[in-house]
């Protein structure tokens, strides 16, 4: 069973690299979002640095919504989903493996890119480290909540926008605590630890809840 799950994970990672260039497009989108913010607020570096953590989080949030709809829809369209369903492995475990693969190919590159984009926004080293740490802990929550939307949109030919609309409200708590922890790391009075632990807890909870809900949705919707 472990070998089968590893095969699912390895296949999805391979496919992501061969078809879409891995997390490349997500990172480019992230860069584009970060780039356009100063055009909206003006090239005022202190201001940009102040809102920097929020910009990084919004950018990462939007970028991780990209491609979410393909997680299950691609397998549904070519019949691979049927193959996944006639294995002895629980669908929940398969959904979790696909979620991990998606995070490796889209979430992790965003985390790696975040410090560089933070430089663009003039973040101090401390804020840079805090933003990257919160993204590392918070992006899995985005992916695994997104898994639910991906499963709900599985049979829709153009599910991308719908999945984003379904998932965005669910991610608000992660955004709140992620930005709060980063700001707390820079301005002393607030503790960094509390919101950081809360995102970690949200991530763990979504790691359990996401695959279960996604598997339930797939069972209901598949035809």
């Amino acid at each position: 069973m472990i070998a089968a799950l590893r095969a699912v994970l390895a296949r999805d990672v391979t496919l992501a690299f061969r078809v879409g260039g891995g997390g490349g497009i997500g990172v480019v989108f992230f860069l584009a979002v970060v780039t356009i913010v100063p055009f909206a607020v003006g090239p005022d570096l202190p201001l940009i640095a102040r809102i920097g953590p929020a910009v990084l989080w919004i950018g990462a949030l939007l970028a991780s919504l990209l491609g979410l709809d393909r997680i299950f829809a691609a397998d549904h369209e070519d019949g691979s989903l049927d193959l996944l369903l006639i294995t002895p492995i629980p669908l929940e475990a398969i959904a979790a493996a696909k979620g991990v693969a998606h995070w490796i190919t889209t979430g992790l590159p965003l985390v790696v890119a975040a410090p560089l984009l933070g430089l663009l926004l003039g973040l101090e080293p401390q804020a840079l480290a805090a933003a990257t740490a919160t993204l590392l802990v918070g992006t899995p929550a985005l992916t695994f909540l997104g898994l639910i939307g991906a499963a709900l949109g599985v049979a829709m030919p153009r599910g991308g926008l719908l999945v984003a609309v379904l998932i965005l409200p669910l991610t608000i708590p992660i955004l709140i605590f992620g930005v709060a922890a980063t700001t707390a790391a820079v301005t002393d009075p607030l503790p960094f630890g509390t919101p950081f632990k809360l995102i970690a807890a949200l991530s763990l909870a979504s790691f359990v809840l996401g695959p279960i809900a996604a598997a339930a949705a797939l069972r209901q919707l598949r035809d």
């Binding site: 879409g20 480019v28 860069l31 055009f39 940009i48 926004l121």
Partner: protein, 244 residues
Amino acid sequence: MALLDLANPHRFLALARAFIPTLALIAAVLLALGLVLGFRAPPDYQQGETVRIMFIHVPAAWIALGAYSLMAISTLGTLVWRHPLADVAAKAAAPIGAAFCLLCLVTGALWGRPMWGAYWVWDARLTSVLVLFLIYLGILALWRAIEDPGQAGRAVAILTLVGFLNVPIIKFSVDWWNTLHQPASVFRAGGPTIHPALLTPLVITAAGFGALFLALHLAAMRNEILRRRVRSLRLIAAADVEAR
């Protein structure tokens, strides 16, 4: 007629074989010379020693812009004359141009830190290069996204041309945005008041970068032609097994 002769990939490959080593040699000599002259040049009275970063930064920006112009012209060749080598030229130029664009951004950041106290300032020129880099990345992503080379070539051609027409508009709007918000405190990089002792290494390095770009571009075009040959042979082979 010369253009039509080049349309023959065999002739192009022979040409590439002859030109690539020559260009690479010219590039190596010019870059070595530029390096020596660049390190020997006197420090700038205003920017001190960091002006040496300019010898890479500014030529990299020129090559990035030049590569994009070359892509735009090649794309016209794809769309208007349907020249078979045009989209090969456009595809080969994209990653190289993007790399020079990245080099320009990285050296800009390393120059900016000692000069402005920050790795990045939203200066009009730097920001325009960043937008150019984004357009490059979009073009690269589109090349990767479409499997069939002919179809990908036409799609990228349209994107490249739209981007090309947009670049002056972006440049103008970024300048306008910048002057609207920015006090004149931002230091203007380069500019026309450059000391002649600094101009020589700059021009030589730029020429070296140009030769390097041409060598890499020809080599990448050759790779692309080979890649397409491999692809079409594989398709033939798959069909052969079918007809067996």
